[in-house]
Amino acid sequence: MPEVADSPREADQPHESLIAHFGADKPLKLDAGVELTPFQVAYKTYGTLNAERSNVVLICHALTGDQHVASIHPVTRKSGWWETMVGPGRPIDTERYFVICPNVVGACMGTTGPSSTDPKTGKPWGLDFPVITIRDMVRAQAMLLDHLGIESLFAVAGGSMGGMQVLQWAASYPQRVFCALPIACATRHSAQNIAFHEVGRQAIMADPEWRGGRYLLEDSNPRRGLAVARMGAHITYLSDAALHRKFGRKFQDRANPTFSFDADFEVESYLRHQGISFVERFDANSYLYLTRAMDYFDLAADYNGILAKAFTGTPTRFCVVSFTSDWLFPTFESRAIVHALNAASARVSFAEIVTDKGHDAFLLDEPELFAIVRGFLDGAGKARGLAARG
């Protein structure tokens, strides 16, 4: 396992990734009113671009995801985070589609973020990195596509924060998006979700090792704070029923309680493991910036509070998916998207999938989700004139 001290290098020189550099002539104009320049976008591609350049699928990753969607992660050596969905013969079939997955701006796996080196100072950005938004992430992705000479996307897909980017893509660049798959997401972050994020941020900032955000300069790392943030967040990704099914009240490697604060229960041990393993691959300041970007997301607010106006006259086909046990982005949030799309006369499919796996269901083995994504893309592929899988 690589040392944590390696992570700044991953931020500047990501392994097993392609990098697009944007110099002073191509600054990223941020919602915060400043420009990010120079900056870089790390990304991965899978499959082959066809001659018409009409088979591109953009995958938008979630808060703690990255570009390693369908291949071994260079830090954890684990399989890609969406290998069940993306790959040869998978619903997003890399033998048919050319898949691009960029690391978002503000993240820590090679696209410019707070742990990247600021070329003006030669030191990590830290809290001098400007606050970014979901729209900024999408702008950077659009610049990447321009850089690659890709005018339009066959599909944009993503769950959670990835779904927010999908919605922003459809709103910002309707002519570039043939079909959109926003999964387990919402057009705005709820007060409850902002509250959970704030708890996570405070856990990081309360760790003395955070050092006011300057831990990289001071050879430190707020591991405990970030682990606690992850533990809290992880609970919101599951469900009461799933936790009960997986762990119940079972003890961890013992028959009786120890009458101490050890991880007596399996669920405690599991959460501690989630926290510790997360710290190995993620940067605490990135966690602050990305949760902030999600908190600020409110698509309707950009259209005088009328969500349907975000999609007026849209040519994009939508497939909205939610999960019954997702209490982070409950079905009513997806239904609000669907209502707005109906009001805009958009072509929309909407399915709610029955599962007890909670918000994380979009990343897990959900055969119904796979059937829906496959069927939706097949239908859209026919309309787009994409050749069937050879």
Binding site: R317, V338, A343, V348, F350, E368, A371, G375, G379, A380
Partner: protein, 222 residues
């Protein structure tokens, strides 16, 4: 009582066709009332059979609403643009004139507010196609009259206590509703118990007695 005469000149009757394969006759009839290439909303689209038929035979741009989650997910997996929703509550979200046709196939009797649903259909769409089981059919009447229990037939197979059908109507009732809300009846077809269309020049009472189900093409008046 109705101002619209059944066999009158203002009521064109669609020419029925034989059902091909296993496709239901009433669906074929509905499909024939839809212009080629139209934009269609199918309310209560079930497993998407009609949407598929419309897409394959009439080249329509079809959308669907379905109450059952299983039906919706099956439709979406087939590549159809279908959402989970309720005819009684979700039609209000659609803007005026969003569709050329709004179809309600064998669903009217299961809605909570049939009149409001019908009004929404003709607000959202320029035309509406409605098919429903005729509760005035002689088998229904005989069961209630002689057996003394709530009727159960091939197309109304439910017991009174578990039926989704809460607003049964007869062909006569439906025509009266259309008149009451000022809807123009452009075409109508009634099918007998064997799925064959009834004689076109038969009087309305004959349709109401021998039609097991009916299909109406409606438009806004004026």
């Amino acid at each position: 009582m109705s101002a619209v005469s059944h066999a009158g000149s203002n009521l064109n009757v669609a020419s029925p066709a034989n059902a091909s394969g296993s496709t239901r006759v009433d669906l074929v009839l509905v499909a024939q009332m839809v212009e080629y290439g139209a934009k269609v909303l199918d309310v209560g689209c079930g497993d998407g059979q009609l949407l598929r038929l419309l897409s394959e035979t009439r080249g329509v741009d079809g959308r669907g609403i379905e109450l059952s989650r299983e039906g919706v997910n099956e439709c979406v997996a087939k590549g159809l643009a279908v959402i989970q929703g309720d005819a009684d509550t979700d039609l209000a979200d659609y803007p005026d004139d969003a569709f050329d046709y709004v179809i309600l196939s064998q669903t009217l009797q299961a809605t909570r507010h049939p009149r409001i649903v019908l009004e929404h259909m003709l607000r959202i769409g320029r035309r509406a196609v409605v098919s429903f089981p005729n509760f005035g059919h002689w088998q229904v009447r005989l069961q209630l009259l002689f057996a003394g229990h709530m009727p159960r037939t091939d197309i109304l197979p439910f017991s009174w206590y578990d039926t989704p059908n809460i607003h049964h109507c007869t062909i006569k009732d439906f025509r009266q509703l259309c008149t009451a809300i000022g809807v123009k009846m452009e075409k109508a077809v009634a099918l007998n118990a064997w799925g064959s269309p009834l004689r076109l020049n038969a009087p309305w009472w004959f349709w109401n007695l021998f039609g097991e189900q009916a299909v109406f093409l409606l438009s806004r008046k004026g």
